[in-house]
Amino acid sequence: MRLIDIVIGSLRRRKGRMAFIIIGLAVGVGTVVALRSLTATMEQEIGAQLDQYGANIVIVPKASSQELSYGGVTLSAATFDLRQLTDEDISRIKSIKYANRLSLIAPKLLGAVDIDGQKFLLSGAQLDQEVRMKQWWQVVGRVPDKADELLLGYEAAQKLGVIEAVKSADHDSMLHSDHTSVRQPELKLLRTELTLGGEQFRVVGVIRETGAQDDQMIFAGLPTAQRVLHKPGELSLIEVSALCQGCPIDDIVAQLSAALPEAKVSALQQAVRARLQTVERLSRFSTALSVVMLLIGFVMVFITMMNSVVERTREVGVLRALGFRKSHIVRIFMIEAALISLLGGLLGWAVGALSGVLSAPYFTETGAGAKPSLALALAALAAAVIVGVASSLYPAIKAAKLDPTEALRYY
C-alpha cells in the first residue's frame, strides 16, 4: 500500500463527484484540442494553396518601358534602365533579416528571341526551382539540365511544329506523362532540334497546356538565357516564395525593398493572404479561448479540491495523528489532482481529436480531417495536468496546515 492507493480508494468512494470534475475538464480540454486541430488543418490548407499559387513576392527593376510582360508584371527589354537586376541581388536578398522565412528565390531573365522567323519570349530560370514553384506544370519529357536544352510551352511547341495534339491515347507515343491517372491526350515530339541565336538546342520537354502565358514561352537554364540574350549576369525579375504559414509578408516586402532600393518589390496573391489572415484570426481566437478554458478548468479543479479538503478534514486529522507528515498530506492531494486531471486530459483529448476529425469537412475546403497529432495530445495532457496540479497546490497546502486535533474534531 502506497500513498496513491489511499488516493485511488478515496476517488473510488467519490465516483460521482470525480466523474463530474473529469467530464468538466474533458469538455475544456476537448474544446481546445478540437479548435487547435481545426485551425492547424486550415492553416495547412492555406499553406498548400499558397504553394499552388506560386511565388508571393516579385522583384523587378523600377524603371521600365517596354512591350513584354509576364504574370501581369510589365518587363523591360530596353537597356536604358537606371539599373538592371543582377546575380548580385540574389545574395542581397539572402541577407535580409527574414531570409530564413524565404522558401524559394527564383531569379529569371526574360527576353525576346527569334526562331524560324517567329518571335518568342525566352525565360531563363533555375528550372528545377521553377518546376517546384509551379506545381501545376505537367512536364512531358524532362526538365532541361544541360546548357543546350530547352523546355517549351504548349503553344510555342505547336507553333514550332515540335508537337501536335493527338486526340486519343496512343500507346506508341514516345513520351508519357507522369500524370497517368489524368486522361489527357498523349504528346508526340515531332522534332527536337531548334536553332536559337545561331546556336543548336535540343527540346527535352514540353509543358502541357496551362491556359496561362507560360504556354507561349520557351524556357532555358538561366546562364543559357543570359548567353543567348547577351545579358551576362543580368536578371529581369526575381520571384520570392515566402510560404511559411503566418509569414510577416509585409515585413518581408519592406526588408526586400530596403535591400534592393532600385527595385520594385510587390506582393501577390492578396486573396490568399486575406484568407490566411482569417485563419490567423481564428487561430488567435482559439488561443484566447484556450486560455479562458484553462482558467475555467483551473477554477473548477480549485473549487473541487477545496471542497475535497473540507470533506476530508477529519481524514487529514487521522492521517496526521498516525504520523503522516504535512508533506505526505500535500502529496496525497497533489496525486489526486494529477490523477483527475490526467484522466480529464485524456478524455478531453480523445473527444477533441474526434470532433476535430468529424467537423473538419464543415470548416475546410478539402474536407480533410485533422490528423490527431501526438504533439497536440501531449500538449493537452500536459496542460490538463499543469492546470490540475497548479490549482490544487493551495488546497493541498491548506489541508496540510490543518491542526490535527481540530481536524479530528471536525464534523
Binding site: 500500500m1 502506497r2 500513498l3 492507493d5 489511499i6 480508494g9 478515496s10 473510488r12 468512494r13 477529519r314 481524514e315 486529522g317 487521522v318 492521517l319 496526521r320 495523528a321 498516525l322 504520523g323 503522516f324 507528515r325 504535512k326 508533506s327 505526505h328 491542526d403 490535527p404 486535533t405 479530528l408
Partner: protein, 244 residues
Amino acid sequence: MSFITIENVTKTYQPNGVASRATVLRGVSAEIEEGEFVALMGPSGSGKTTLLTIIGAMSQPTEGRVVIDEVDVYDLSEERRADFRREYLGFVFQQHHLLPYLTALENVMLPLVITKLNAKEKRTKAQLALERMGLGDKFDRLPNQLSGGEQGRVAIARALVNEPPLLLADEPTGNLDSKTGDEIIGVLRALNEQGQTILMVTHNPEAAAATHRVLEIQDGILLSESAEPGCHAGQSLMEEVCAD
C-alpha cells in the same frame, strides 16, 4: 526518569471572536511508567482530551513540556513530531476514525504507508496485527461491513501495527454498547498484560476500573491519583460503580 513525564503543562487558547483566553489545562504534571495502564478521567470540558493530544504530540502546550522516552516532544520540529507519532505512538479514537473506503487490512496498513517497508512486509505486519485482534477472517471487509466491536478492534490493530511503545486511547468505549465496550476494554487489558503501556481517556468508571491507576482531572487541574482504582478510589466518579 519515568517513561512519560508531563511537566507543568498549561494550555490556553483564544476562541474565535472572544477577547479573553480560555485556559484548558493549568500546570498539569504527571508521570507514567513503562507497562502501566492508566486512565485519565474527568467530566466533559475538563481538559482530558486536550491533555491526551498534548501527550500525543499533536498539540503544542502553551507552557510546560512532555518528555517521552527521554525525547522532549515539543522540541522537535513539526515534521519530526509527525515521525515521532509514527514511531512512538498508537492512537485509538472514540469514533475509531477508520477510512470508510479502505478495507480492514488497508486501514491497518495506513501507518505503514509512509515507512520504508516493502509491500509484502507491510501486508504481513498488518495481517499479524489483525489476527492478534481476532480478525484474521475479515481482512477484506470495509468498515461498514464490520460490527462496532470489530471496528474498534481494527482501530486498535491500526494503532499497534507499528509496535509503538505507547498506546493512546480517547474514549474507546464511548460510542459502544456496554457489551462491545467490555470487549474493547478486554482487548486493551490483554495488551497491557503483554507489556503494552496504555493511557486511556474515559468517563466510563467501569473502563477505568480495568486500569492500574486513574488520573482525575477537573477544570484543567489534575485532582488526585488513585493507585488502585475501583472501590478503593474514594473519588466521586467511582462511587456509582462501587455502590453497585
